[in-house]
């Protein structure tokens, strides 16, 4: 995946496949600790405890088209090559939380990418799901909640094609305002 925003889009597909009606995405950039934390929390059906330790195994999947499941294993590899880690917590019947940690300014960290487009695609193609997106940069904070958008738009649904562009622009503007990182800042580039 070329962007962390694409990993997030991919991980949220797991939440949707698990029947989640609410998905919370939290991103935190801690400049002092040089740490980036991405958290995806859902209220889906959860992962049975027996298979939980194997969820990052690329040859474990719940789908039936091919015996390969790359979503979580790719995110784990991306985090680990940036001195980070991946945690998956889950309770059957209650939901799952995926937490990925990265060194914020690591040479190998993929750029954040277009979070606006990721959220826009998720919101318009899953109009019945409540999405909450929070992005913090030290003291600054941006949030987007589809519950609020739905209220203002009614009776027009969140699946209207114009909503994607609205969500994208709102997020892009909001992230710029709080100074969200795009690319890692590398002090010295080895030649």
């Amino acid at each position: 995946m070329q962007e962390l925003a694409l990993h997030i889009l991919d991980i949220v597909q797991n939440s949707l496949a698990a029947g989640a009606t609410r998905v919370e995405i939290r991103i935190q950039e801690n400049l002092k600790q040089d740490l980036l934390v991405i958290e995806v929390q859902d209220n889906g059906k959860g992962i049975p405890p027996m298979i939980l330790p194997q969820v990052t195994d690329p040859f474990l999947t719940s789908r039936t088209t091919r015996p390969v499941g790359l979503g979580l294993s790719l995110l784990k590899a991306a985090a680990e090559r940036c001195r980070g880690s991946l945690e998956v917590h889950s309770t059957e019947g209650r939901g799952t939380t995926v937490i990925a940690r990265f060194q914020l300014n690591h040479f190998d960290r993929a750029p954040m990418g277009d979070m606006g487009e990721t959220m826009g695609v998720l919101v318009t193609s899953n109009p019945g799901v409540d999405f909450y997106y929070e992005h913090r940069v030290d003291g600054g904070k941006y949030t987007l909640a589809t519950k609020e958008i739905r209220k203002v738009l009614a009776p027009v649904g969140l699946d209207d094609p114009a909503v994607l562009q609205f969500v994208r622009q709102d997020i892009q503007g909001g992230l710029k305002k709080i100074g969200a990182a795009t690319f890692p800042k590398i002090k010295e580039v080895l030649r």
Binding site: M1, L9, T65, V156, P161
Partner: protein
Amino acid sequence: MKVEELRKIREKVQKEMDLRAGEKATKVVVGMGTCGIAAGARPVMAAINDELAQKNANNVTVVQSGCAGFCEQEPLVDILRPGEKKVTYGKVNPEKARRIVAEHVLGGRVLKEYVFAQEKE
């Protein structure tokens, strides 16, 4: 959040809805599995929505699906027009997606050069 902009969208769409009341919807399905996402399905879906919004076509539903097992053909886009057989386009990019919307989804003309699979008669 710019509430004013949302209200504008609502008013514009509501006017169109009244005009199109009773019309059957066309469905567009974009493959959004890991393979689809890695191959560029997200900008494809954004382009489809953008083209539909520009043409005020809010009687079309755009949804996502998981991996269909043809990962090497991703991004895959299915077009289901009411009363017609399903057409699947392969290796779609945003540019192709805009043409598919304008010519097939709204115009009814299949773009044969981009078709990966077509349901048999």
